[in-house]
Amino acid sequence: MRFMKSRYRNRELLLLIFALIIISLGFYLSAQTTAQPIDTALKLAGLLATAFIGLHIANRILITDADPLLLSLTAFTSGIGLVMIWRLKPNLASAQSTWILVGAVTILIALVLARNYRKLKEYKYTWAIAGIILLFAPIFLGTERGGARLWLDLGPISFQPAEIAKICFVFFLAAYLEEKRELLSISTKRAFGLWLPEPKHLGPLAVMWLISLIILVLERDLGTSLLFFGLFLAMIYVATGRAMYVSLGISLFIAGAVACYFVFSHVQTRFDIWLDPWIDPAGRGYQLIQAIFAIGSGGLTGTGLGLGHPTLIPAVQTDFIFAAVAEELGLLGGVAVILAYLLFISRGLRIALSASDDFGRLVATGLTSVFALQAFVILGGTTRLIPLTGVTLPYMSYGGSSILMNFILLALLLAISAKRGDSLE
């Protein structure tokens, strides 16, 4: 019975129980302070525990040697998220917990399928085409929400196809770069004082850049565009080691962003509000100002769960959920959450380092980069470190497609970590 003895899995269980205890206390406190039925708290905590203990058991059987931290970190962040959503918008909590359950089942399926993740590289152009279709579907079929056109309405379910597209592009880029990275690292032509590789090898990369711009222009989605471009740069840098790609890419992105500032009023608004939200405190700056007030009122230990006023922030349960955490759990809670993400990211990169093949290495790097960029962009946006772009906070924000895709991301990282070449220690 090898799986009963696994050191990693025992550690995972211990950490998982620790996370679940913290979450349960959170549910208990919220029930007390917001005068909500303790039964619901029990039900939600139970659902969460079932999902993650179930996944833990699956890990024991399927991927005994997988990374021991990722699952507990996911339990912690999605648990805090669920507590906050229940406390902020009680009637959304059951939908969110359902999505977590569905996500857990998806992980199971993904784990079974992804145990041989190397096969994924055989379909690299399929991934590319699927990604492009998913990305651009909303332009023709989507509905507009909050100035951005990101959503597909499929009967009762509406989702953001860009969430799925991210993972498709990670597969494509990993497969493509693994194959071409030698060629891309060799410069044969000199142009504008720079050594460039053969143009035909650069073609697909130029396509990626174009895609990012198209998202920005046609879907008006600054956040997703930034995410794709950042993912692309991170992967190409890791694959080729050419700083030239990075500096060229950053210059291109800045050029594109500056152009957008002058062309699109909503981009301009976002930027101006970031510089000084008080230019329109009751209007365009309202949401950010309310978030800043919420964070400021938290102090070291926060107001206590259920005792702050985070509901003053519009749409707090999605993009701004971190502001609610910072208000009610204070600097301690906020830093704990940030560190949980950083730990997740460092484990992701560690998995990339110890993967047994370059494809696995690049996939893990890509997935971790997407995750890190997304977490940074929204955490930085809600705390006014950078201009706000509407993306969800992985695992914590309310929303089905975000939960699902980040759970698939987790499954892939776990699967890669189980196939590592050397020890994770």
Partner: protein, 469 residues
């Protein structure tokens, strides 16, 4: 492969740097910028937090609730069951317009905003079970307050009623006033009332004292030993001093009279001579001995009563100051305390309104013992002044304060104020042999002290002593 790993590690450093920036920024926002953000006018959180706390109740000495918090849905609203009657004492507590009165001075007790001091407190806060604020018990007698308020009626003015033996304030009335229950709705009309409805005239009003100030002049004269009640003065209708003149009320001459008679009939030309003989410095010193030119330690904001510095006055102004005219300006509370010195054998007890602050279960967290404040005159001087003041009521300008069977002492004042009717003053106490109450009354532009202010004091004294005897 090794080079690939190096680059992944570099990517990791970029991410770690970015997330450390997040933490630094968060620390800045939650620690350094926090207070600044809370103070922003757009931030309604401070108001929302306070509404969640059940503020303490303010209760009068006779058990009437003056201010209390009522729960509505999730938050508390402040209610003042006595409405206007105690408005200047309780003050108000408004999320929009701040707070005033006892709601302001005793905010720490009422809000129970004591800092978290034990793990137990912290757990309670975590669970949102914050302790209600402390209740305040006052010296105020609402029955007397209501009688005093009715006696003043809708006339601009103020009344202060204290127990001279303890300094306890029994009633404190001013008009115009406001209803703290409708403050938020009627703020504009209340705040912009040209007569100053928000001004607590009893403690913050500054008025020319007129002849009621002769208590101070007489005290200085008798203390100096230069004057006794029997000292005789010429009392013409007008007295010329340095090209100016001091005249009697109604331009009446009295011939040769004693100081006693001059006090009883409030003869200005005699007091002008007394003041001139004493000199400005002695007059100012005597005033300051009573607390004028200083702050009165009190539970409510007070205006500083003042007389000019001696060096700033010529003989004419000194003479006018001796009769309570000129630049002297006093609050009704100050005049009550001047009277209290006479009533209490020369010693002024510190005035107070709040007897104690207590927790819901009755445990007192703050309790007040009466304590002496100033001792401006000797016991002998006090006794002399007492008999002078008794005669004012018995046969002088204060006859309308007489109460059958009670020995009342007092001094009237009729302060000329440029245009319109003079301010009517009366400062009196009773019973003379064992004073239980001192009353200071001012009715702005009310006419003579004897005809307007003394009858008000009489009603209050009669009501209080009638109840006690």
């Amino acid at each position: 492969m090794i080079r690939l790993n190096k680059r992944i590690a570099r990517l990791g450093i970029v991410f770690i740097t970015a997330f450390i920036l997040l933490i630094v920024n968060l620390t800045y926002m939650q620690f350094i910028a926090s207070a600044k953000l809370t103070a922003k006018p757009e931030n309604i959180r401070p108001v929302l937090y306070e509404r969640r706390i059940e503020r303490g109740t303010i209760i009068s000495a006779d058990g009437k609730v003056l201010a209390t918090s009522r729960k509505q849905d999730d938050s508390y609203t402040r209610v003042y069951p006595e409405g206007e009657l105690a408005a200047h004492i309780t003050g108000f507590y408004s999320s929009r317009y701040g707070r005033a009165g006892l709601e302001l001075t005793y905010d720490d007790y009422l809000s129970g905003q004591s800092k978290v001091s034990s793990p137990d407190d912290y757990m309670k806060r975590l669970l949102g079970e914050e302790e209600p604020g402390n209740d305040l018990t006052l010296t105020l007698d609402m029955n007397l307050q209501s009688i005093a308020s009715k006696a003043l009626g809708l006339r601009k003015g103020a009344i202060v009623v204290l127990d001279p033996k303890t300094g306890a304030v029994l009633a404190l009335v001013g008009w115009p006033r406001f209803d703290p229950n409708t403050l938020d709705d009627k703020w504009k009309s209340i705040a912009e009332n040209p007569e100053g409805a928000l001004l607590n005239r009893a403690t913050q009003g500054r008025f020319t004292p007129g002849s009621s100030f002769k208590i101070v002049t007489a005290a200085a004269a008798i203390e100096s030993g230069a004057v006794t009640p029997a000292t005789v003065y010429e009392a013409p209708a007008q007295l010329k001093i340095y090209g100016g003149k001091v005249s009697n009320y109604g331009n009446k001459g009295f011939g040769r009279i004693s100081f006693e008679e001059a006090f009883i009939k409030s003869v200005n030309t005699v007091f002008a001579q007394v003041g001139k003989n004493l000199g400005g410095q002695k007059l100012v010193d005597a005033s300051e001995a009573f607390g004028i030119n200083g702050e009165i330690p009190f539970d409510l904001p007070t205006a500083k009563s003042s007389v000019p510095e001696a060096s700033e006055m010529d003989d004419l102004e000194v003479a006018w100051m001796a009769v309570g005219q000129g630049r002297a300006a006093v609050s009704p509370l100050m005049m009550a305390l001047v009277g209290a010195a006479v009533a209490n054998d020369g010693e002024i007890m510190q005035p107070y309104l709040v007897v104690k602050a207590s927790e819901r279960d009755g445990t007192a967290v703050f309790a007040r013992e009466p304590r002496p404040w100033l001792c401006p005159i000797s016991k002998n001087t006090a006794a002399v002044l007492k008999s002078l003041m008794e005669q004012v009521v018995a046969k002088g300008t204060g006859k309308s304060a007489q109460i059958p069977g009670v020995r009342v002492a007092g001094k009237t004042g009729t302060a000329e104020v440029g245009k319109g009717e003079p301010h009517a003053w009366f400062v009196g106490f009773a019973p003379v042999d064992n004073p239980e109450v001192i009353v200071a009354v001012i009715v702005e532009n009310g006419g003579t002290g004897g005809s307007t202010a003394a009858p008000i004091a009489k009603q209050i004294i009669a009501a209080l002593l009638g109840k006690n005897h």
